[in-house]
């Protein structure tokens, strides 16, 4: 079936504007993750949704960042009053059941949204 999709693929915005990034996970996957990756850097965890549980928001860098997941499927990451340091690639991933022991399900990543804040 289709993989994880993200839109838009590129977004250029002006400092101070709000942006919304969308993620469509693989159908049937209950877990969804958002990450941020600055150029040449590692993955910075932002937020994790698992089924109907309260999301793990521990990675959100400030209260300008928020995310929701409607109907257990599509997720939107919103960044308010964007700053230049928000420029990065925002990656979404989904997995069948999420973090678990002994096995953690494989994460399938989308192609990312490249955000540039001027």
């Amino acid at each position: 079936g289709a993989g994880v999709s993200q839109s838009p693929s590129n977004k250029v915005t002006e400092k101070g504007k709000d942006v919304e990034l969308r993620c469509d996970p693989i159908s049937g996957h209950t877990a969804l993750y958002w990450y941020r990756q600055s150029l040449g850097q590692g993955l910075e965890f932002l937020i994790y949704f698992q089924g109907n549980s309260a999301p793990d928001k521990s990675g959100l860098p400030s209260d300008r960042f928020s995310a929701e997941r409607t109907g257990g499927s599509v997720s939107t990451l919103t960044i308010q009053r964007t700053q230049q340091e928000d420029s990065a690639v925002y990656l979404c991933a989904s997995s069948l059941r999420g973090n678990s022991v002994p096995y953690t399900d494989t994460q399938y990543f989308g192609p990312g949204t490249r955000l540039t804040v001027l």
């Binding site: 040449g40 993955l43 793990d56 991933a93 973090n99 953690t104 990543f109």
Partner: protein, 110 residues
């Protein structure tokens, strides 16, 4: 907070040489996964290790999970240009949190 340290940050090798990246956790992990990210691409799952002392092989890639389940390594024998990219480890801790290493970038010298 809990961390997974991954070293080195970069490794430059001649094609045909071996490559190794190491991940070390401050706490015991339930499992550890390895992902590869090609330049301009997104991370792609390679393998998961669960058992203490586990060793798994995929062609020229050898993955190990330490006896104490606090460290792991990925070793590539006789690197090829197709191996270029950044290799990430990600471990699940006892709180079901997935902790990512910072990645090791494999660069093939021209």
């Amino acid at each position: 907070g809990q961390q997974v340290m991954q070293i080195p940050q970069y490794q430059h090798v001649q094609e045909g040489e071996d490559f190794t990246t190491y991940c070390n956790s401050s706490t015991t992990l339930s499992n550890i996964q390895w992902y590869k990210q090609r330049p301009g691409g997104h991370p792609v799952f390679l393998i998961q290790l669960v058992k203490s002392g586990e060793v798994k092989k995929q062609k020229r890639l050898t993955f190990q999970f330490g006896e104490a389940k606090k460290n792991s390594s990925l070793h590539i024998t006789a690197t090829q240009t197709t191996d270029v990219g950044t290799y990430f480890c990600a471990g699940t801790d006892s709180n079901y949190q997935l902790i990512w290493g910072a990645g090791t970038k494999l660069i093939i010298k021209p």
